[in-house]
Amino acid sequence: MLVPSLKVQDLIEEIRGAKTQAQEREVIQKECAHIRASFRDGDPLHRHRQLAKLLYVHMLGYPAHFGQMECLKLIASPRFTDKRVGYLGAMLLLDERQDAHLLITNSIKNDLSQGTQAVQGLALCTLSTMGSAEMCRDLATEVEKLLLQPSPYVRKKAVLTAVHMIRKVPELSTVFLPPCAQLLHERHHGILLGTITLIMELCERSPAALKHFRKVVPQLVQILRTLLTTGYSTEHSISGVSDPFLQVQILRLLRILGRNHEESSETMNDLLAQVATNTDTSRNAGNAVLFETVLTILDIRSAAGLRVLAVNILGRFLLNSDKNIRYVALTSLLRLVQSDHSAVQRHRPTVVECLQEPDTSLSRRALELSLALVNSSNVRAMTQELQGFLQSCPTDLRADCASGILLAAERYAPTKRWHIDTILRVLTTAGAHVRDDAVANLTQLIGGAQELHAYSVRRLYCALAEDISQQPLVQVAAWCIGEYGDLLLEGSCEEIEPLQVEEEEVLALLERVLQSHMSLPATRGYALTALMKLSTRLRGDNNRIRQVVSIYGSCLDVELQQRAVEYDTLFRKYDHMRAAILEKMPLVERGGPQVDEEAKESKEARLLEAAPVPTEPQASKLLDLLDLLDGPSEDAQHPRPLDPSPGGALVHLLDLPCAPPPAAPIPNLKVFEREGLQLSLSFVRPPETPALLLITVTATNTSGGDVTHFICQAAVPKSFQLQLQAPSGDTVPAQGGLPMTQLLRILNPNKAPLRLKLRLTYTHFGQSVQEIFEVNNLPVETWQ
């Protein structure tokens, strides 16, 4: 006896009737049990209904893996109803990661070759959605045949399936390139749309294909022209614009074909001018076409007059009342800011106004664009605007805004004082959102500007007195007061109002910082050290300081306790050396911002053991202090070389005795090649330092497409020490442009056999690539 099964709608109604999550779960679990039983019993009549219910439940987030096999059975059934649900199930449940997915390949093959149009459509749809590489390889010929089928319905689906197949299996490009010429003669819009997508995919993958398809530029121009004037059919018109989707696709393809190619660009010049001036912009569809036209004009080698027209159109759009238009205008201008910088600069005032938008999508874009527009001539005005924005902007944009301002300040600061002021203002407004290295950068900056020590310490003191909650600000202020406390008390400084500060006040402030529950442990460390330094800077007696220091000797925080104990010892046993040890710090060298980035990226790489390049002058200054306490005979004036790794590798370098005769040059090694991008290594063993190996990684690009966002990371066995220096850049330009180089320093004191693993990530031809490999055939001279 058949238990009557629920219809899909009835199940949905039951689920919606459930008042609580638990009730819903109950209903669903009960029904799933029924469904499972029905699958076991193998009832063919109702299978499609059971699967449909299961898919609904799956959409709500419940497990449905037990339906996978049923999909297979349904697809194999002769009934359309079954196939429809079966294929839908395959798309939802059988992705590449499931082992079962390959089993439908045969059914798809049969359906593609023998099915009715509707069935072929189903099969193609499924293949293009979840087809894995193996499936695509197996079914490529079937799809190719369908490209020539009489039915436009099937052909248009076959074309898009071909795009998917090429994405999964790039070698199939050779199969699907030849039919394109024929397909471009189609009148059916769906087929044309798909064909153009296919051609774009082919061109983006292979410079040879790109060259080949440049021939069709005149044909594309003709198609677009026809669309504009007579229109193929009124059926495709959206708000009076004939098939804007097809127009946009054609324009995108023209962009790809015309880029860097004078002849093609010239062929499309007139047409682009025509579109740009004749498109009706009262409705969204027209604007979509116009935007695409503008982007194309600006990306190809267009006539100067046309370029000016294009940028002006964008400028007009920036003032449009429709928010969507403004958004797209901002996005487009961002794309242009590198190539047409001066043109975009003209719109700077409007862009800055957009910062005031209440809509976060718009203000975010405006922020990005504003930051990109900062240059040395407008830096003061722009920073002013951006600081204003920082005060009122939504929280998710604060971090970006703060770091953007700091970066711009670093690049274009007109004076050191302005720079210090700017950073100070950012720290006061948005201290919690700045990056970690802001503190180090500011102390570095102040330390290096001797003439501004007095100014800085006063400003920081005032800022600190007002607010001790913004941690980065407090840290910098504490450090500064510690270093330059004597200047604080001296009374006069022309640049700001005279400030009368008593010693007791200064000490009290630092003590407040120490005691405040808002202060992070690191901050308290700064404050304690500052207090200690003041013991030599201030003229009064040091009882108060000594008291604080001894109290913190029993602090629960281990770091603080250690410092306090050491300082206490300094008072008691080494008082004669205190002045020398606590002298003003010499300026510490630091790596540039690029090196910071490198350090961050290496730290983030979970796979690798690369040692980060040292960039924390603050940490090492404290290290200096503590180290010096261990070795009282060492001279405080020479800063230790920066190296957080415990071995102090660079110290070894300095200690090594002089040297064996220069070795013969080691041959270069080509280690990687893919689609025109090549990587080779060259090796140097400096004769004075036998344990050191310098590797220069050189990346060259002979392909037609630039390689961007290039990052190279390296790993070596544990007994080695590796240091990656900053690369010369992150772009390897196409067609033999300037190669990118990066230096690796490897220390191999044990003369162990060298093993090197490289990890590359980059973007090439619009694809993200990641490659990890071990370098083979390293010459023995690299480590022996």
Partner: protein, 180 residues
């Protein structure tokens, strides 16, 4: 309630998280803002954005990468909604809830493998109608045996006499099995 299609392989958990995050981001939006949304940790990183349109109580959200024309997608959503309207005859929210499979079928005629397939509403509707007809006719055929059985069960068969007396000939009618 939501109907979703994911064109890239993701675990079920991730899919649900993405849906939740999308809902969260989109429902926070005011009325007077643009239709584009970025940010969101799970939505494929910085290259992707959400483009949505608001119709009565429903949001239609498309997640696209940077290669798509933003304004074009707005029109695409409009075509999709108009097509739904035509196929369901004045579509309402309940239609979409109770006929999720139909929604999938319609979408499959417009977007395939993450790419735009067809935007001509008439073509799409014609195809959907043809497919629905096909399903209906199959349901008719498949239903036949079941209907026959129930029809016979309910037939009122006249009583068959066990003995037919025609004068002096006595014919014994065999015991025919009952139809029950």
């Amino acid at each position: 309630q939501s109907s979703t299609r994911h064109d890239t392989a993701q675990s079920e958990d991730t899919q649900q998280q993405i849906i939740r995050e999308t809902f969260h981001l989109v429902s926070k939006r005011d009325e007077n803002v643009c239709n584009f949304l970025e940010g969101g940790l799970l939505i494929g990183g910085s290259d992707n954005k959400l483009i949505y349109r608001h119709y009565a109580t429903l949001y239609f959200v498309f997640c696209v990468d940077s290669s798509e024309s933003e304004l074009g997608i707005l029109d695409l959503i409009q075509v999709f909604v108009e097509t739904l309207d035509k196929c369901f005859e004045n579509v309402c929210e309940l239609d979409l809830i109770f006929h999720v499979d139909k929604v999938h079928n319609i979408l499959a005629e417009m977007v395939m493998g993450g790419m735009v397939l067809e935007t001509n509403m008439n073509e799409i509707v014609t195809q959907i109608d043809a497919q629905n007809k096909l399903e209906k006719s199959e349901a008719g055929l498949a239903g036949a045996p079941a209907r026959a059985v129930s029809a016979v069960k309910n037939m009122n068969l006249p009583e068959i006499p066990r003995n037919i007396n025609i004068g002096d000939i006595s014919i014994k009618v065999p015991n025919l099995p009952s139809f029950k």
